[in-house]
Symmetry: C2
Amino acid sequence: MRSVSIIGTGLTKFGEHWNLSFKDLIAEAGIKAIQDSGLARKDIQAVYGGCMASGRFIGQEHIGALIADQLGLNPVPSTRLEAACASGGVALRNGYITVASGLYDIVAVGGIEKMTEVSTEDAGFALGGAGDQETELFMGASFPALYALMARAHMHEFGTTEEQMAAVSVKNHKNAINNQYAQFRNEITIEDVMNSGYVASPLKLLDCSPISDGAAAVILCATEVARKMKITDKAIEIIASAQASDTLALANRKSLTKINATKVAAKQAFEQAKLKPRDVDFAELHDCFSIAEIMAIEDLGFTEKGKGGKFTEEGNTAIGGVIPTNTSGGLKAHGHPVAATGIKQAIEAYLQLNEKAHGRQVKGAEIGLAQNVGGSGATCVVHMFRRA
Amino acid sequence: MRSVSIIGTGLTKFGEHWNLSFKDLIAEAGIKAIQDSGLARKDIQAVYGGCMASGRFIGQEHIGALIADQLGLNPVPSTRLEAACASGGVALRNGYITVASGLYDIVAVGGIEKMTEVSTEDAGFALGGAGDQETELFMGASFPALYALMARAHMHEFGTTEEQMAAVSVKNHKNAINNQYAQFRNEITIEDVMNSGYVASPLKLLDCSPISDGAAAVILCATEVARKMKITDKAIEIIASAQASDTLALANRKSLTKINATKVAAKQAFEQAKLKPRDVDFAELHDCFSIAEIMAIEDLGFTEKGKGGKFTEEGNTAIGGVIPTNTSGGLKAHGHPVAATGIKQAIEAYLQLNEKAHGRQVKGAEIGLAQNVGGSGATCVVHMFRRA
């Protein structure tokens, strides 16, 4: 398997796009990414696009063909991948595999979700399909409820507090202020989070990522090919790509206070990159709910299991801290058009490693990590990045 | 890229499975395939599962994780792919890529659809998502209507008759009689087809494939690894795997009488296999509607463009003819749980090449081909097979 790099990126603003269609969002992110790479459409040999629930959100399937069509890339093979909220990460990994294997030199990878065309209730049901509908969703366990169970278990087992969870949202909102593509660019306080209404106790509104529209795309190129083409100025190498699965239903897990798929994928990713958690300079994490970021920093080895709340509260995950997390604003403040999230994480790594994360730059960042979770943790994808 | 072979297969009966759930179907096909391969679950390194519209049909997404969970394969990476009715073919191709590349030695690939949990009307809307919902489905162009337009164009341009289209269904029903996994095992006549009600003129009920439940799975193994393990007795090598895209909406095509994605994918597949259409001994084709099989035999080069109707009527595609097609019964008679179809086609090739297609065996078959189409032709996947 050969080295693969990101050579171009394209992102739409995340938010409520009443004036843009699903196709418009794909066009914006896709064309930006191709233009940013300096290549032409004819150079793209295949497309991998993540999308979770377009059938439920807009009545459209066959998203691979739609993307190729919308970007004028026919007749190249174009494939949709779905792994709930990890659809973007899974698309990135599969695009990576085709280039690493030598099958293709250059592929486009993206993620798209248009979630605001349906009612919030219907969106909740569509998202509930990320868990086990038979034993969870149809029994009333919405997604906030599943993560609330994990939060309660974490509080019980480790003494994690609601204020510590709130600190995740406060930090991520602060980071998003300097990100023009973020959905929420307003600072919030611990008090704001604590005073926001309960969605599923102990999780309050401001512990939860929003419903969003958005698309993100990257162009992958074999690093050796990029070198020959002399387009490595901004190239960011993917130095690890790992994916793991766990039970769909929370009730079948051995522990509610860790995401085992994260632990398994992280172990493989660190082995592939020949690095340790302490080598990572920043991380984009899957903070669909504040407790998820706390579990992530533990499961990835940035702090000990059970210490994530305190670690966050003490500012260790802020920019300038031990391990800055979600400099983009994370799912909470950047927004979470589910399948776009995994690609947006890679784009934040690309910006950070190119020192283009204006206003939120991690100084001297050399190694980045992205963790993308599907559902309540039945899928996790971990990628690691450095300058090519 | 190294050689990849199918070393085990598992199939459920296709039909209306009121007594089996989505998960039950996955378990049956998946466990059969693993058992047939002679391997154990621990040998499987990754899963690729095709599924078109589970969100619409049963309110469940995150199908990759669900499959791994249901088959006890955690924590291996498990990924869902979607390309409408070509979801199975696309899953097969992506599983193939990971083994051909050397990333994995052994992977499980499957396709699943449970379509009978919703009304026929709702199933029609879900399937309509395979086309362009904005310009087709939401304007009233259901899937039968789109293929009816192609049929009308073919009749107008080449003089193809309704009786010639009917001959496709008659042949496929005849083939299915000897297939215990087929949905319809009754013989029908040209008159039966002609007298069945119009669904979208000129297509009648018996020109159309049914709504079905079903699952299919295969185990892929690097041929060199299978040789070392001495499990090549029944191994069938995948000698070509190609995929192409076309516009989502029929209105944007240059021609209504061919599927360009089939032509592009076929060209690549024949080049990869270093073979010509005349070298193929049997083919599983995507006869979602009878006209689709007529276009397929033309686009794949088994007969000249425009001659497919006459070629079929004269018996050239029957078992014992020039190029037996859809010996399994095809989508029409074997049934069409959309994402399972592409895998079922590979299973029929496996059976034919192992001389296990009892009652429908193509004598001396050495080379098989499978063509799997998504939507009205926006995706096509072509695979070719021979004994390993």
